[in-house]
Point group: C2
Chain length 299, copies 2
Protein backbone atom coordinates (compact mmCIF):
# COMPACT_ATOMS: atom_id res chain seq x y z
CA UNK A 1 0.00 0.00 0.00
CA UNK A 2 1.24 3.47 -0.85
CA UNK A 3 -1.08 5.12 1.68
CA UNK A 4 -2.24 3.80 5.03
CA UNK A 5 -4.66 5.34 7.50
CA UNK A 6 -4.83 4.37 11.15
CA UNK A 7 -7.83 5.52 13.15
CA UNK A 8 -11.23 4.61 14.50
CA UNK A 9 -14.18 2.90 12.84
CA UNK A 10 -17.49 3.57 14.52
CA UNK A 11 -21.23 3.66 14.25
CA UNK A 12 -22.54 7.13 15.04
CA UNK A 13 -25.79 8.59 16.29
CA UNK A 14 -26.12 12.26 15.40
CA UNK A 15 -28.75 14.80 16.38
CA UNK A 16 -28.67 18.11 14.54
CA UNK A 17 -31.12 20.91 13.73
CA UNK A 18 -31.75 19.45 10.25
CA UNK A 19 -32.53 15.94 11.53
CA UNK A 20 -31.20 12.88 13.30
CA UNK A 21 -29.51 9.67 12.21
CA UNK A 22 -28.56 6.53 14.13
CA UNK A 23 -26.02 3.73 13.61
CA UNK A 24 -24.44 5.44 10.62
CA UNK A 25 -20.80 5.06 9.47
CA UNK A 26 -18.46 7.12 11.61
CA UNK A 27 -14.99 7.24 13.11
CA UNK A 28 -11.99 9.05 11.70
CA UNK A 29 -10.92 6.22 9.37
CA UNK A 30 -14.28 6.06 7.59
CA UNK A 31 -14.18 9.74 6.69
CA UNK A 32 -10.42 9.79 5.95
CA UNK A 33 -10.39 6.73 3.72
CA UNK A 34 -13.47 7.65 1.70
CA UNK A 35 -12.15 11.21 1.21
CA UNK A 36 -8.70 9.96 0.17
CA UNK A 37 -10.25 7.52 -2.30
CA UNK A 38 -10.86 10.29 -4.85
CA UNK A 39 -7.10 10.60 -5.25
CA UNK A 40 -5.40 7.48 -3.91
CA UNK A 41 -6.31 4.03 -2.65
CA UNK A 42 -5.87 3.74 1.10
CA UNK A 43 -5.34 0.75 3.36
CA UNK A 44 -6.86 1.18 6.78
CA UNK A 45 -5.80 -0.20 10.13
CA UNK A 46 -8.67 -0.45 12.58
CA UNK A 47 -10.95 -2.65 14.61
CA UNK A 48 -14.69 -3.30 14.45
CA UNK A 49 -17.03 -5.71 16.23
CA UNK A 50 -18.79 -8.68 14.67
CA UNK A 51 -21.89 -6.48 14.42
CA UNK A 52 -20.24 -4.15 11.89
CA UNK A 53 -22.73 -3.86 9.02
CA UNK A 54 -21.89 -5.49 5.69
CA UNK A 55 -23.32 -2.39 4.05
CA UNK A 56 -20.51 -0.26 5.49
CA UNK A 57 -17.90 -2.78 4.41
CA UNK A 58 -19.40 -2.65 0.92
CA UNK A 59 -19.34 1.14 1.01
CA UNK A 60 -15.63 1.15 1.89
CA UNK A 61 -14.88 -1.45 -0.79
CA UNK A 62 -16.83 0.64 -3.33
CA UNK A 63 -14.35 3.39 -2.51
CA UNK A 64 -11.42 0.99 -3.10
CA UNK A 65 -10.42 1.01 0.56
CA UNK A 66 -8.09 -1.87 1.38
CA UNK A 67 -9.36 -3.65 4.50
CA UNK A 68 -6.42 -6.03 5.11
CA UNK A 69 -5.62 -4.08 8.28
CA UNK A 70 -9.18 -4.04 9.60
CA UNK A 71 -9.67 -6.58 12.39
CA UNK A 72 -13.14 -7.94 13.09
CA UNK A 73 -13.24 -8.86 16.78
CA UNK A 74 -15.87 -10.64 18.82
CA UNK A 75 -18.04 -8.01 20.46
CA UNK A 76 -19.63 -4.72 19.55
CA UNK A 77 -18.30 -1.94 17.33
CA UNK A 78 -17.34 1.43 18.84
CA UNK A 79 -20.42 3.66 19.13
CA UNK A 80 -20.49 7.43 19.49
CA UNK A 81 -23.42 9.79 19.84
CA UNK A 82 -23.46 13.58 19.61
CA UNK A 83 -25.93 16.43 19.50
CA UNK A 84 -25.35 19.80 17.81
CA UNK A 85 -26.88 23.02 19.10
CA UNK A 86 -28.85 25.23 16.72
CA UNK A 87 -25.82 27.32 15.89
CA UNK A 88 -23.33 24.41 15.59
CA UNK A 89 -21.09 26.21 18.09
CA UNK A 90 -21.70 23.55 20.70
CA UNK A 91 -21.52 19.81 20.37
CA UNK A 92 -22.68 17.66 23.27
CA UNK A 93 -21.39 14.09 23.45
CA UNK A 94 -24.37 11.87 24.19
CA UNK A 95 -22.38 8.66 24.68
CA UNK A 96 -19.01 7.08 23.89
CA UNK A 97 -19.13 3.28 24.00
CA UNK A 98 -15.63 2.17 23.04
CA UNK A 99 -16.52 -1.55 23.01
CA UNK A 100 -13.91 -3.48 20.94
CA UNK A 101 -12.06 -0.22 20.22
CA UNK A 102 -11.00 -0.11 23.88
CA UNK A 103 -8.42 -2.83 23.22
CA UNK A 104 -7.32 -1.56 19.82
CA UNK A 105 -3.68 -2.40 19.17
CA UNK A 106 -2.86 -1.35 15.62
CA UNK A 107 -0.88 -4.06 13.82
CA UNK A 108 0.29 -3.30 10.30
CA UNK A 109 -0.09 -6.14 7.78
CA UNK A 110 3.21 -6.80 6.01
CA UNK A 111 1.83 -5.24 2.84
CA UNK A 112 1.37 -1.93 4.70
CA UNK A 113 4.86 -1.64 6.16
CA UNK A 114 6.39 0.01 3.12
CA UNK A 115 3.80 2.77 2.89
CA UNK A 116 4.99 6.07 1.43
CA UNK A 117 2.26 8.05 3.16
CA UNK A 118 0.86 7.43 6.62
CA UNK A 119 -2.08 9.24 8.16
CA UNK A 120 -2.23 8.90 11.91
CA UNK A 121 -5.86 9.86 12.40
CA UNK A 122 -7.10 10.70 15.84
CA UNK A 123 -6.34 7.89 18.32
CA UNK A 124 -4.16 7.77 21.47
CA UNK A 125 -0.66 9.12 20.64
CA UNK A 126 0.87 6.04 22.32
CA UNK A 127 -0.80 3.88 19.67
CA UNK A 128 0.21 6.33 16.96
CA UNK A 129 3.85 5.96 18.08
CA UNK A 130 3.43 2.18 17.98
CA UNK A 131 2.29 2.40 14.34
CA UNK A 132 5.43 4.30 13.36
CA UNK A 133 7.58 1.68 15.14
CA UNK A 134 6.27 -0.96 12.72
CA UNK A 135 7.04 0.99 9.53
CA UNK A 136 9.91 -0.21 7.36
CA UNK A 137 9.78 2.77 5.02
CA UNK A 138 10.70 6.41 5.29
CA UNK A 139 7.12 7.55 4.93
CA UNK A 140 5.65 11.04 4.90
CA UNK A 141 3.64 11.02 8.12
CA UNK A 142 0.64 13.25 8.79
CA UNK A 143 -0.61 13.49 12.36
CA UNK A 144 -4.08 14.44 13.52
CA UNK A 145 -4.80 14.72 17.22
CA UNK A 146 -7.34 16.23 19.60
CA UNK A 147 -7.69 18.20 22.83
CA UNK A 148 -8.23 15.01 24.88
CA UNK A 149 -4.67 13.82 24.17
CA UNK A 150 -3.19 17.25 24.82
CA UNK A 151 -4.81 17.05 28.24
CA UNK A 152 -4.17 13.40 29.08
CA UNK A 153 -1.21 12.12 27.03
CA UNK A 154 0.96 15.16 26.40
CA UNK A 155 4.32 13.35 26.79
CA UNK A 156 3.34 10.70 24.25
CA UNK A 157 2.09 13.40 21.91
CA UNK A 158 5.28 15.49 22.18
CA UNK A 159 7.42 12.42 21.51
CA UNK A 160 5.28 11.62 18.49
CA UNK A 161 5.46 15.15 17.08
CA UNK A 162 9.24 14.76 16.64
CA UNK A 163 8.55 11.82 14.30
CA UNK A 164 5.98 13.32 11.93
CA UNK A 165 6.23 15.50 8.82
CA UNK A 166 2.92 17.32 9.09
CA UNK A 167 0.66 18.20 12.00
CA UNK A 168 -3.00 18.98 11.31
CA UNK A 169 -4.70 20.62 14.26
CA UNK A 170 -7.57 22.98 14.92
CA UNK A 171 -7.14 26.52 16.20
CA UNK A 172 -8.24 25.73 19.76
CA UNK A 173 -5.83 22.79 19.99
CA UNK A 174 -3.00 24.90 18.56
CA UNK A 175 -3.62 27.43 21.31
CA UNK A 176 -3.72 24.69 23.97
CA UNK A 177 -0.38 23.27 22.82
CA UNK A 178 1.47 26.57 22.40
CA UNK A 179 -0.28 29.11 24.60
CA UNK A 180 -0.21 31.45 21.58
CA UNK A 181 -3.25 33.19 20.15
CA UNK A 182 -1.37 34.49 17.12
CA UNK A 183 -1.56 31.88 14.37
CA UNK A 184 1.92 32.81 13.18
CA UNK A 185 3.53 32.41 16.58
CA UNK A 186 1.59 29.21 17.31
CA UNK A 187 2.72 27.69 14.00
CA UNK A 188 6.37 28.55 14.67
CA UNK A 189 6.19 26.87 18.08
CA UNK A 190 4.50 23.80 16.60
CA UNK A 191 7.15 23.56 13.87
CA UNK A 192 9.84 23.77 16.55
CA UNK A 193 8.21 20.73 18.22
CA UNK A 194 8.94 18.60 15.16
CA UNK A 195 6.65 18.76 12.13
CA UNK A 196 8.03 20.62 9.12
CA UNK A 197 4.48 21.30 7.94
CA UNK A 198 1.68 22.64 10.12
CA UNK A 199 -1.97 23.03 9.14
CA UNK A 200 -4.25 24.97 11.47
CA UNK A 201 -7.95 24.32 10.78
CA UNK A 202 -10.31 27.22 11.51
CA UNK A 203 -13.71 25.63 10.84
CA UNK A 204 -15.89 27.84 8.65
CA UNK A 205 -12.96 30.27 8.27
CA UNK A 206 -10.93 27.70 6.35
CA UNK A 207 -7.37 26.66 7.17
CA UNK A 208 -3.79 27.92 7.23
CA UNK A 209 -0.80 25.96 5.91
CA UNK A 210 2.63 26.81 7.30
CA UNK A 211 6.04 25.72 6.00
CA UNK A 212 9.25 27.45 7.07
CA UNK A 213 8.31 31.12 6.79
CA UNK A 214 5.61 30.57 4.16
CA UNK A 215 1.88 30.74 4.83
CA UNK A 216 -1.08 29.75 2.68
CA UNK A 217 -4.70 30.45 3.55
CA UNK A 218 -7.57 28.48 2.08
CA UNK A 219 -11.01 30.01 2.70
CA UNK A 220 -13.98 28.16 4.08
CA UNK A 221 -16.60 27.75 1.39
CA UNK A 222 -19.74 29.78 2.12
CA UNK A 223 -22.35 27.06 2.57
CA UNK A 224 -26.01 27.93 2.95
CA UNK A 225 -26.96 25.01 5.13
CA UNK A 226 -24.61 22.88 7.17
CA UNK A 227 -26.39 19.63 8.01
CA UNK A 228 -23.73 17.75 9.95
CA UNK A 229 -20.16 18.91 10.62
CA UNK A 230 -19.11 15.51 12.04
CA UNK A 231 -15.99 14.24 10.31
CA UNK A 232 -15.26 17.41 8.34
CA UNK A 233 -11.76 17.60 9.83
CA UNK A 234 -11.10 13.92 9.08
CA UNK A 235 -12.42 14.39 5.56
CA UNK A 236 -10.11 17.38 5.09
CA UNK A 237 -6.98 15.52 6.14
CA UNK A 238 -8.00 12.33 4.30
CA UNK A 239 -8.35 14.18 1.01
CA UNK A 240 -5.16 16.14 1.70
CA UNK A 241 -3.00 13.03 2.15
CA UNK A 242 -4.79 11.25 -0.69
CA UNK A 243 -3.88 14.12 -2.98
CA UNK A 244 -0.25 14.01 -1.77
CA UNK A 245 -0.02 10.24 -2.20
CA UNK A 246 -1.25 10.64 -5.77
CA UNK A 247 1.01 13.55 -6.70
CA UNK A 248 4.09 12.67 -4.60
CA UNK A 249 5.14 16.32 -4.79
CA UNK A 250 6.05 18.09 -1.56
CA UNK A 251 6.61 21.55 -3.02
CA UNK A 252 4.77 24.41 -1.31
CA UNK A 253 2.69 24.97 -4.45
CA UNK A 254 1.52 21.38 -4.52
CA UNK A 255 0.86 21.36 -0.79
CA UNK A 256 -1.45 24.35 -1.42
CA UNK A 257 -3.43 22.20 -3.83
CA UNK A 258 -3.59 19.36 -1.30
CA UNK A 259 -5.06 21.78 1.23
CA UNK A 260 -7.56 23.10 -1.34
CA UNK A 261 -8.72 19.57 -2.22
CA UNK A 262 -8.98 18.83 1.50
CA UNK A 263 -11.32 21.82 1.72
CA UNK A 264 -13.26 20.73 -1.37
CA UNK A 265 -14.05 17.35 0.20
CA UNK A 266 -14.77 18.86 3.63
CA UNK A 267 -17.28 21.23 2.01
CA UNK A 268 -19.18 18.23 0.64
CA UNK A 269 -18.96 16.45 3.99
CA UNK A 270 -20.91 19.04 6.00
CA UNK A 271 -23.74 19.18 3.46
CA UNK A 272 -25.12 15.79 4.53
CA UNK A 273 -25.17 13.43 7.50
CA UNK A 274 -22.36 10.99 8.28
CA UNK A 275 -20.29 10.14 5.19
CA UNK A 276 -23.25 10.62 2.83
CA UNK A 277 -21.90 13.92 1.48
CA UNK A 278 -18.60 12.38 0.34
CA UNK A 279 -19.66 9.01 -1.09
CA UNK A 280 -20.03 8.27 -4.80
CA UNK A 281 -19.00 11.77 -5.94
CA UNK A 282 -18.05 11.98 -9.59
CA UNK A 283 -15.15 13.88 -11.03
CA UNK A 284 -17.29 16.69 -12.42
CA UNK A 285 -18.70 17.39 -8.95
CA UNK A 286 -15.18 17.72 -7.56
CA UNK A 287 -14.17 19.97 -10.45
CA UNK A 288 -17.20 22.23 -10.05
CA UNK A 289 -16.54 22.60 -6.34
CA UNK A 290 -12.83 23.23 -6.96
CA UNK A 291 -13.83 25.98 -9.39
CA UNK A 292 -15.93 27.56 -6.65
CA UNK A 293 -12.80 27.76 -4.50
CA UNK A 294 -10.93 29.32 -7.42
CA UNK A 295 -13.62 31.98 -7.99
CA UNK A 296 -13.84 32.60 -4.28
CA UNK A 297 -10.16 33.17 -3.63
CA UNK A 298 -8.31 34.03 -6.83
CA UNK A 299 -7.83 37.66 -7.81
Amino acid sequence: MSLIIVGSLALDTIEAPAGSVAEVPGGSSSYCSIASSYFSTAGIVGIVGDDFPDSVISLLKDHHVNLDGMKIAAGKTFRWGGRYADNFDDRTTLFTDLNVFEDFNPILPDTYKNADYVLLANIHPGLQNHVLDQLESNAFVVLDTMNLWIDTALDDLLALMKRVDMLVINDEEARMLTNERSYGKAAKKLQAMGPEWVVIKKGQHGALLFHQSQVFSVPGLVIDEVKDPTGAGDTFVGALIGYLAQSKDHSFDNMKLAVVFGSVLASFCVEDFSVDGITYLDESELETRYDEFVIMSQF
Copy 2:
Protein backbone atom coordinates in the same frame (compact mmCIF):
# COMPACT_ATOMS: atom_id res chain seq x y z
CA MET B 1 -14.02 66.21 -5.23
CA SER B 2 -14.34 62.74 -6.72
CA LEU B 3 -14.37 61.05 -3.30
CA ILE B 4 -15.80 62.35 -0.05
CA ILE B 5 -15.72 60.78 3.39
CA VAL B 6 -18.09 61.72 6.19
CA GLY B 7 -17.26 60.55 9.68
CA SER B 8 -15.69 61.42 13.00
CA LEU B 9 -12.41 63.14 13.81
CA ALA B 10 -11.14 62.44 17.29
CA LEU B 11 -8.21 62.33 19.64
CA ASP B 12 -7.78 58.86 21.09
CA THR B 13 -6.24 57.39 24.18
CA ILE B 14 -5.37 53.72 23.74
CA GLU B 15 -4.10 51.19 26.23
CA ALA B 16 -2.90 47.88 24.80
CA PRO B 17 -0.55 45.08 25.86
CA ALA B 18 2.27 46.57 23.76
CA GLY B 19 1.97 50.07 25.24
CA SER B 20 -0.23 53.12 25.66
CA VAL B 21 -0.73 56.36 23.74
CA ALA B 22 -2.75 59.47 24.50
CA GLU B 23 -4.27 62.29 22.41
CA VAL B 24 -3.37 60.60 19.13
CA PRO B 25 -5.25 60.99 15.82
CA GLY B 26 -8.43 58.92 15.78
CA GLY B 27 -11.99 58.82 14.52
CA SER B 28 -13.22 57.01 11.44
CA SER B 29 -12.40 59.86 9.02
CA SER B 30 -8.75 60.02 10.00
CA TYR B 31 -8.19 56.36 9.25
CA CYS B 32 -10.43 56.32 6.14
CA SER B 33 -8.95 59.40 4.50
CA ILE B 34 -5.33 58.48 5.12
CA ALA B 35 -5.93 54.94 3.83
CA SER B 36 -7.76 56.20 0.74
CA SER B 37 -4.95 58.67 -0.01
CA TYR B 38 -2.75 55.91 -1.48
CA PHE B 39 -5.24 55.61 -4.33
CA SER B 40 -7.39 58.72 -4.47
CA THR B 41 -7.59 62.15 -2.89
CA ALA B 42 -10.48 62.43 -0.45
CA GLY B 43 -12.42 65.40 0.86
CA ILE B 44 -13.62 64.93 4.40
CA VAL B 45 -16.70 66.29 6.15
CA GLY B 46 -16.27 66.51 9.89
CA ILE B 47 -15.99 68.67 12.96
CA VAL B 48 -13.15 69.32 15.39
CA GLY B 49 -12.66 71.71 18.30
CA ASP B 50 -10.32 74.66 18.39
CA ASP B 51 -7.87 72.47 20.29
CA PHE B 52 -7.34 70.16 17.30
CA PRO B 53 -3.56 69.90 16.90
CA ASP B 54 -1.90 71.57 13.91
CA SER B 55 0.25 68.47 13.66
CA VAL B 56 -2.77 66.33 12.79
CA ILE B 57 -3.94 68.88 10.22
CA SER B 58 -0.47 68.76 8.69
CA LEU B 59 -0.56 64.98 8.68
CA LEU B 60 -3.88 64.96 6.80
CA LYS B 61 -2.61 67.58 4.34
CA ASP B 62 0.55 65.53 3.80
CA HIS B 63 -1.81 62.79 2.67
CA HIS B 64 -3.56 65.19 0.28
CA VAL B 65 -6.79 65.15 2.29
CA ASN B 66 -9.06 68.04 1.32
CA LEU B 67 -10.27 69.77 4.47
CA ASP B 68 -12.84 72.16 2.95
CA GLY B 69 -15.58 70.19 4.70
CA MET B 70 -13.87 70.13 8.09
CA LYS B 71 -15.43 72.63 10.50
CA ILE B 72 -13.38 73.96 13.38
CA ALA B 73 -15.83 74.85 16.17
CA ALA B 74 -15.31 76.60 19.47
CA GLY B 75 -14.82 73.94 22.12
CA LYS B 76 -13.03 70.67 22.50
CA THR B 77 -12.48 67.92 19.94
CA PHE B 78 -14.19 64.54 20.35
CA ARG B 79 -12.12 62.29 22.64
CA TRP B 80 -12.31 58.54 22.92
CA GLY B 81 -10.39 56.17 25.15
CA GLY B 82 -10.18 52.39 25.01
CA ARG B 83 -8.29 49.53 26.57
CA TYR B 84 -7.54 46.19 24.92
CA ALA B 85 -7.29 42.95 26.89
CA ASP B 86 -4.22 40.75 26.48
CA ASN B 87 -5.87 38.66 23.78
CA PHE B 88 -7.50 41.57 21.89
CA ASP B 89 -10.84 39.77 22.19
CA ASP B 90 -12.18 42.41 24.53
CA ARG B 91 -12.11 46.18 24.19
CA THR B 92 -13.24 48.27 27.12
CA THR B 93 -14.32 51.83 26.39
CA LEU B 94 -12.64 54.04 28.97
CA PHE B 95 -14.46 57.25 28.01
CA THR B 96 -16.40 58.83 25.14
CA ASP B 97 -16.39 62.63 25.33
CA LEU B 98 -18.31 63.76 22.26
CA ASN B 99 -17.63 67.49 22.88
CA VAL B 100 -18.14 69.45 19.61
CA PHE B 101 -19.00 66.21 17.79
CA GLU B 102 -22.27 66.06 19.76
CA ASP B 103 -23.73 68.80 17.53
CA PHE B 104 -22.19 67.56 14.28
CA ASN B 105 -24.41 68.43 11.33
CA PRO B 106 -22.61 67.42 8.17
CA ILE B 107 -22.82 70.14 5.51
CA LEU B 108 -21.28 69.41 2.13
CA PRO B 109 -19.31 72.27 0.57
CA ASP B 110 -20.50 72.94 -2.97
CA THR B 111 -17.33 71.41 -4.35
CA TYR B 112 -18.25 68.09 -2.70
CA LYS B 113 -21.81 67.81 -4.03
CA ASN B 114 -20.85 66.17 -7.31
CA ALA B 115 -18.79 63.42 -5.74
CA ASP B 116 -18.65 60.13 -7.64
CA TYR B 117 -17.80 58.13 -4.53
CA VAL B 118 -19.15 58.71 -1.04
CA LEU B 119 -18.04 56.89 2.07
CA LEU B 120 -20.49 57.20 4.93
CA ALA B 121 -18.16 56.23 7.76
CA ASN B 122 -19.59 55.34 11.12
CA ILE B 123 -21.86 58.14 12.42
CA HIS B 124 -25.60 58.23 13.26
CA PRO B 125 -27.59 56.92 10.25
CA GLY B 126 -29.86 59.98 10.45
CA LEU B 127 -26.84 62.15 9.68
CA GLN B 128 -25.73 59.73 6.98
CA ASN B 129 -29.16 60.09 5.33
CA HIS B 130 -28.78 63.87 5.59
CA VAL B 131 -25.48 63.68 3.69
CA LEU B 132 -27.10 61.80 0.82
CA ASP B 133 -29.91 64.41 0.68
CA GLN B 134 -27.30 67.06 -0.19
CA LEU B 135 -25.69 65.14 -3.04
CA GLU B 136 -26.32 66.38 -6.58
CA SER B 137 -24.64 63.41 -8.23
CA ASN B 138 -25.47 59.76 -8.71
CA ALA B 139 -22.60 58.63 -6.54
CA PHE B 140 -21.48 55.13 -5.59
CA VAL B 141 -22.20 55.12 -1.86
CA VAL B 142 -20.46 52.89 0.66
CA LEU B 143 -21.98 52.61 4.12
CA ASP B 144 -20.23 51.64 7.32
CA THR B 145 -22.23 51.31 10.51
CA MET B 146 -21.99 49.78 13.98
CA ASN B 147 -23.92 47.78 16.58
CA LEU B 148 -24.93 50.96 18.45
CA TRP B 149 -27.06 52.17 15.52
CA ILE B 150 -28.56 48.74 14.96
CA ASP B 151 -29.71 48.90 18.58
CA THR B 152 -30.77 52.54 18.79
CA ALA B 153 -31.53 53.85 15.27
CA LEU B 154 -32.68 50.82 13.30
CA ASP B 155 -35.41 52.63 11.32
CA ASP B 156 -32.98 55.30 10.14
CA LEU B 157 -30.46 52.61 9.26
CA LEU B 158 -32.95 50.53 7.28
CA ALA B 159 -34.09 53.62 5.34
CA LEU B 160 -30.47 54.44 4.61
CA MET B 161 -29.63 50.92 3.42
CA LYS B 162 -32.09 51.33 0.53
CA ARG B 163 -29.99 54.27 -0.69
CA VAL B 164 -26.50 52.80 -0.70
CA ASP B 165 -24.55 50.63 -3.14
CA MET B 166 -22.32 48.82 -0.70
CA LEU B 167 -22.64 47.91 2.95
CA VAL B 168 -19.49 47.12 4.94
CA ILE B 169 -20.25 45.46 8.23
CA ASN B 170 -18.60 43.07 10.67
CA ASP B 171 -19.77 39.53 11.28
CA GLU B 172 -21.39 40.28 14.63
CA GLU B 173 -23.33 43.22 13.19
CA ALA B 174 -24.42 41.14 10.20
CA ARG B 175 -25.82 38.58 12.61
CA MET B 176 -27.58 41.31 14.63
CA LEU B 177 -29.23 42.74 11.54
CA THR B 178 -30.29 39.45 9.94
CA ASN B 179 -30.52 36.88 12.72
CA GLU B 180 -28.51 34.58 10.45
CA ARG B 181 -25.30 32.82 11.45
CA SER B 182 -24.60 31.56 7.95
CA TYR B 183 -22.60 34.19 6.08
CA GLY B 184 -24.31 33.29 2.83
CA LYS B 185 -27.81 33.67 4.23
CA ALA B 186 -26.91 36.85 6.11
CA ALA B 187 -25.48 38.39 2.95
CA LYS B 188 -28.60 37.54 0.93
CA LYS B 189 -30.80 39.19 3.55
CA LEU B 190 -28.57 42.27 3.66
CA GLN B 191 -28.64 42.55 -0.15
CA ALA B 192 -32.45 42.32 -0.01
CA MET B 193 -32.40 45.34 2.34
CA GLY B 194 -30.85 47.51 -0.39
CA PRO B 195 -27.11 47.37 -1.04
CA GLU B 196 -26.08 45.55 -4.19
CA TRP B 197 -22.66 44.85 -2.65
CA VAL B 198 -22.09 43.48 0.85
CA VAL B 199 -18.76 43.09 2.62
CA ILE B 200 -18.65 41.13 5.86
CA LYS B 201 -15.50 41.76 7.88
CA LYS B 202 -14.25 38.86 10.00
CA GLY B 203 -11.31 40.43 11.83
CA GLN B 204 -8.21 38.23 11.70
CA HIS B 205 -10.09 35.82 9.42
CA GLY B 206 -10.29 38.42 6.65
CA ALA B 207 -13.45 39.46 4.83
CA LEU B 208 -16.10 38.21 2.43
CA LEU B 209 -17.39 40.19 -0.57
CA PHE B 210 -20.86 39.34 -1.89
CA HIS B 211 -22.47 40.45 -5.16
CA GLN B 212 -25.54 38.72 -6.57
CA SER B 213 -24.65 35.05 -6.18
CA GLN B 214 -20.88 35.61 -6.25
CA VAL B 215 -18.60 35.42 -3.21
CA PHE B 216 -14.97 36.42 -2.76
CA SER B 217 -12.92 35.70 0.33
CA VAL B 218 -9.82 37.67 1.23
CA PRO B 219 -7.73 36.13 4.02
CA GLY B 220 -6.50 37.97 7.06
CA LEU B 221 -2.75 38.39 6.89
CA VAL B 222 -0.96 36.35 9.55
CA ILE B 223 0.65 39.04 11.68
CA ASP B 224 3.07 38.15 14.44
CA GLU B 225 2.28 41.07 16.69
CA VAL B 226 -0.84 43.19 16.61
CA LYS B 227 -0.11 46.43 18.44
CA ASP B 228 -3.40 48.30 18.07
CA PRO B 229 -6.45 47.15 16.12
CA THR B 230 -8.19 50.54 16.47
CA GLY B 231 -9.31 51.83 13.09
CA ALA B 232 -8.49 48.67 11.13
CA GLY B 233 -12.07 48.48 9.83
CA ASP B 234 -12.06 52.17 8.87
CA THR B 235 -8.69 51.73 7.17
CA PHE B 236 -10.05 48.75 5.24
CA VAL B 237 -13.08 50.61 3.90
CA GLY B 238 -11.08 53.80 3.27
CA ALA B 239 -8.57 51.99 1.08
CA LEU B 240 -11.37 50.03 -0.59
CA ILE B 241 -13.28 53.13 -1.71
CA GLY B 242 -10.04 54.94 -2.56
CA TYR B 243 -9.14 52.10 -4.89
CA LEU B 244 -12.61 52.19 -6.46
CA ALA B 245 -12.49 55.96 -6.91
CA GLN B 246 -9.16 55.60 -8.69
CA SER B 247 -10.17 52.70 -10.95
CA LYS B 248 -13.86 53.57 -11.51
CA ASP B 249 -14.48 49.92 -12.37
CA HIS B 250 -17.34 48.13 -10.64
CA SER B 251 -16.76 44.68 -12.10
CA PHE B 252 -16.57 41.83 -9.64
CA ASP B 253 -12.90 41.26 -10.51
CA ASN B 254 -12.01 44.86 -9.73
CA MET B 255 -14.07 44.84 -6.55
CA LYS B 256 -11.95 41.85 -5.48
CA LEU B 257 -8.85 44.00 -5.87
CA ALA B 258 -10.47 46.82 -3.89
CA VAL B 259 -11.10 44.38 -1.05
CA VAL B 260 -7.52 43.08 -1.25
CA PHE B 261 -6.09 46.61 -1.07
CA GLY B 262 -8.43 47.32 1.84
CA SER B 263 -6.86 44.33 3.56
CA VAL B 264 -3.34 45.44 2.64
CA LEU B 265 -3.84 48.80 4.34
CA ALA B 266 -5.65 47.27 7.33
CA SER B 267 -2.70 44.90 7.84
CA PHE B 268 -0.38 47.90 8.14
CA CYS B 269 -2.83 49.66 10.46
CA VAL B 270 -2.76 47.05 13.24
CA GLU B 271 1.03 46.92 13.31
CA ASP B 272 1.32 50.29 15.06
CA PHE B 273 -0.68 52.63 17.27
CA SER B 274 -3.27 55.08 15.97
CA VAL B 275 -2.70 55.95 12.30
CA ASP B 276 1.09 55.47 12.58
CA GLY B 277 1.02 52.19 10.66
CA ILE B 278 -0.61 53.75 7.58
CA THR B 279 1.12 57.12 7.27
CA TYR B 280 3.92 57.89 4.82
CA LEU B 281 3.96 54.41 3.26
CA ASP B 282 5.76 54.22 -0.05
CA GLU B 283 4.61 52.35 -3.10
CA SER B 284 7.13 49.54 -2.68
CA GLU B 285 5.81 48.81 0.80
CA LEU B 286 2.29 48.47 -0.57
CA GLU B 287 3.51 46.25 -3.40
CA THR B 288 5.47 43.98 -1.06
CA ARG B 289 2.46 43.58 1.20
CA TYR B 290 0.17 42.98 -1.77
CA ASP B 291 2.57 40.23 -2.89
CA GLU B 292 2.23 38.64 0.54
CA PHE B 293 -1.52 38.43 -0.02
CA VAL B 294 -0.89 36.89 -3.44
CA ILE B 295 1.46 34.24 -2.05
CA MET B 296 -0.89 33.58 0.82
CA SER B 297 -4.04 33.01 -1.20
CA GLN B 298 -3.22 32.18 -4.83
CA PHE B 299 -2.88 28.56 -5.87
